[in-house]
Assembly symmetry: D2
Homo-oligomer: 365 residues x 4
């Protein structure tokens, strides 16, 4: 049994990691670190763990944590904070999976522009492997530090990646209209996250300027440059759409009154006429051997069919009339969009079957 720890254990991503890890057959939770709740019993904060082996866990402070005693550490912290902690933990023998935005960019100019933060560990950013498993499986296996992707980014990239190398696609035309449940905002005490402010309502926010916008576009273009040893079966640098050497992405997130789930509706112009059969084949080639990405041939995906699971589901519609492709991609933002994907990365690193501890299907109704 490998020993794993979580730093930032009492945020929503932290407890979702706990939920997955305490029932994972191959690992054991070593330490749960929480700045705000050190010294408290986990079940006083989260009574849902009373019936589990975590019943008597006491949350620790960072200063009492020995990185060396863990085989792998998950850092579930705000960006900016995370790079410091990862800097401290690095080189002590434990693998690290970081769930913040701090290590997702090799090009730190982009990071610093969009995050408004100076990066203090460029050497770590340079070696971090981007943790979208379906894109970057081989690098992840060998990495000491994995940068787990953003939630919106995961839903968006899974929907758009197989189209990036499609010669008919106009990569300058990509628009992503994403809708997220409220858990994506974390457990922060903000007025606009109160039940009375969000229930029965809906809004767009940060159109064109959300940080995940830069991450989607950056990773898509890294992919086009051949930076990832992608398993995506469609990937063939020779096929890369010419004329648009760069993908340009306009991204608008929305907040909807559900707990979990992201639905990304992606719009893409085609430069030549295509067909649903042709598009379907591209998706199937990309994902046929991927357990966690399911391509729907004849229906559109719904949040309820993935919420509570690590699965992504993708459907699409080709509109002959406007020569546009509409792709719909859904995930559970807490799982494939955060903690589930992190465990999938851990499984890769430790050489376990990729689906270990991640087989649950959606909780419905």
């Amino acid at each position: 049994m490998k020993k794993v720890s979580i730093i930032g254990a009492t945020g929503y991503v932290g407890i979702e990691l706990m939920r997955l890890l305490h029932q994972h057959s191959e690992v054991k939770i070593k330490d749960l670190i929480s700045k705000s709740s050190a010294g408290q019993r986990l079940t006083d904060l989260y009574p849902q763990f009373r019936g589990s082996e975590l019943n008597n866990y006491q949350l620790k402070a960072m200063e009492d944590f020995q990185a060396e005693a863990s085989d792998l550490i998950f850092t579930a912290l705000p960006h900016g904070v995370s790079q410091n902690i990862v800097g401290e933990l690095s080189g002590k023998g434990a693998k690290i999976i970081d769930l913040s935005g701090d290590f997702r960019y090799h090009d730190l100019d982009i990071y610093e522009e969009w995050y408004g933060v100076k990066h203090k560990h460029p050497e770590l950013a340079a070696e971090a492997a981007y943790g979208l498993v379906e894109l970057n499986r081989e690098q992840i296996k060998k990495a000491d530090l994995v940068a787990n992707p953003g939630c919106y980014v995961t839903a968006s990239l899974l929907g758009i990646l197989p189209m990036l190398s499609f010669s008919k696609a106009d990569l300058s035309s990509i628009i992503i209209d994403a809708k997220s449940g409220v858990s994506g905002a974390g457990r922060s005490l903000k007025e606009n996250l109160l039940f009375t402010e969000t229930h029965n309502s809906m809004k767009a926010y940060s159109p064109a300027v959300h940080r995940h916008s830069s991450e989607i576009e950056y990773i898509a273009n890294q992919f086009l440059k051949g930076e990832y040893d992608s398993d995506l079966k469609t990937f063939n640098p020779a096929d890369i759409s010419t004329g648009a050497d760069r993908a340009q992405i306009l991204f608008t997130p929305h907040l909807v009154p559900i707990k979990r789930g992201i639905l990304a509706t992606i719009y893409l112009n085609l430069k030549e006429s295509s067909s649903e059969a042709e598009i379907l084949e591209l998706f199937q080639q990309a994902y046929n051997e991927e357990e966690f990405v399911q391509v729907l041939a004849d229906q559109l995906p719904e949040i309820k069919n993935v919420a509570g699971s690590n699965f992504a589901q993708i459907g699409f519609k080709y509109d002959q009339r406007t020569a546009r492709l509409i792709i719909v991609s859904v995930i559970d933002n807490m799982l494939k969009g955060a903690a589930g994907q992190a465990v999938q990365n851990m499984n890769l690193i430790f050489g376990y079957p990729e689906n270990t501890g991640l087989k649950a299907t959606a909780l419905f109704p």
Copy 2:
């Protein structure tokens, strides 16, 4: 006091009309017609009217209805059914406001293609005035038959109309990603409308092929042809964007787990660089004298600020980087998107102040 009647009184749009009309200071409800519930007491079906003057109303059957006794009739019926009823009622002296899709198109080829129904009253379709008040106020005032717009169409057109005559707009690039509450689907017994199937979930449906798609595009292009005596202050045929003599619209609706409200996120490419100030001025010119359309200069609209009211709120973001405009338009689908707009049309027809009976602000929280 004018006398008004509702045919199709017990559907959701019917009861919303009732709610508005029984407290309208200038009209009196004459007859409430319901095929399914004729003979029943209204308050046995809808106990919320117990405290009102509708407490003793008994629902009538169509065969007991005398059109001549009403000054105005609202028809809140399914398309296809509605044209027959309107055909029967027509010419008996009562004005008619029809809330179905049957009389929204002067070009019946488009209607028949998208609705899959042969139109039996082309002469009535030809004379019907399209009932988007802000677009067509003068024609509505004189009309015997008003075709009340679709709910998605109202949210979409209010957001896009001021841009149609903007010379920098690429009218072939319009994408509308709309999100609606469940009341828009009416009171139909369908499995996918059950609480357990929609709560905490979300989905796209009918991408590119929803009927309202054709209505948005049709009306936008009629506007470009100068068919409406628009009050929109920006409207100047000489300004009409050249190069794109037609607007082409890709429309994707989504179902979200709220009761009321439509949020339409509209994407539009600009052919030349612009600025937020320039765009704001276009919106303000269009709507400054419109009571029911509010342009937000510095924030994005939310459903909660219009639900329960007849107001539309519109915000936008100009993204210099991608030269795209993102417009967000919100309405209450039951009010500005259906019954509220119908009452606004009625006020115009009868010469009452346009906001009579429609002054309520959003019910929040």
Copy 3:
């Protein structure tokens, strides 16, 4: 037009008062006082008022407020705070309707025990009229200071009052299990009011020790002592249930994931056999002339039929088998449970028809 002001204008109760008052035909809003937002424009905080005459209102600070310039002042403040402000305002000519718990008890020992606060204005508490209109209409009309009832208290008392003078009722057996929407908790930044913490969940809280418990029991017993000039037609001191000279009430509130609405399920043992007809008659006698309280003879009430309105609906079931009566009472906690009732009180004080500005039926769906 009378001039009215609101102190505590930007809390949920404050804006609900605004919503009602700015459309009230007989009054005009004078000042809106907010400690936290003085100097800000109302519509920057609450954009739903953009289309109204409140569009240009600027929130004021308490120190800039002249009580003398208003005919009536609503105080929508936390208990403890409210008594100080009311103390300051008192005697300056304006009537006051206080929505806190501070002036609901003539017996200050009970207040101080349950609220944990020393009362600084016993003289005002002594003269304040309890503002449950159906119970105390005549005293309210003459009062300078009205104590608007608690939300749970209103739902509970309307359900139980007609039974208090029923000789078969065992007044020591009353149990009230109440369920409230989240708006009842106000706009406070508490973790347990976040969307993610309340949506799709439910809980009981403060069983037996909620402050409204004491208010329900106190007012019920004041009623039994003949303290109110009740219009309740059943009321006849000679009928008062003997054997139980006091009502004893066990009250448990619950938080449910809806925005507005309280549903109180009330359990009461009968000492002798009764019948549904007998019980119905008692309710009808009590409320037949009350516009805002509707007795349902043959169905149980639901939140959706009152939310958005000032109406209460009451239904019941007599269970012969266990000799128990189950009464279900529903209100909108923001309206009949707070702001609506306050306006009803204002109408009484000014001599307007009681339903002025309060005729809206429930907003459904």
Copy 4:
């Protein structure tokens, strides 16, 4: 690997059984029987199973089902229908766990009175073991037919059982006010289960006359007669409360707009003064060795801490002032209230550890 089948596989309880069973380490799903969907692929109806081994399952008709080929059969059918199917399946070697109300009563007079159905298999009803594990573990282990308890009944009995043998409890005073999520009503096409009719609303239904009322009272009294070989550590026939030889229960269910979860608030009079410590000890004695029932000493339970899990959580408050006990019990109605408990029963029958396949903690947020 034991082979198990589900009859009634496409109702909500059926698919919840599937979700649990297809990941159970010791059993394999053999046949999935659905009257309405025979011949269809499971994943066309429920796309959430695409990523699982059930991906290619085809639903079967009853006439193609061989009971002998399964070691155990779950029947998830409406009452009345279920007894016929169980009658057919019985004696063919497969154990049966029935999730309807048909085999929960040994006294068929009560069944027939409350269900309005004549029982056709009294011999099976007589031998069926009542499947509340914590109450009847030993009988279940040996049973050929287990009657899985009702959802409300499970929440209620777990809350009240430890009090039944408490000499200070007045067993004639029990009132249970229960609140359930909408999934409890199943996937039936009823108007009052539409999203628009239930969201943001709430109601009581069937007060005093719900079928689960009779089941709670019947099982409680069977327990008092010593019919179950209870593991409840408090159980001692000599202790049984005298004076009240029978428990009498008044039960009122409510529908609340959540998907999963039942919260039962239980009221019980005490005949003598007690203390929170004394009550806590009774609960702890009863459940200390029970994995799936957690007693909270210092807080009240919430739905969110059990939804998605097979755990029950129980909290309480003793109110000295009114000498009443308030017990709050929460479960996930689909799991501990139906499918989870059925799997727990299956584990007992097959001799597997009771928690096999049931270790998941609540899905939160």
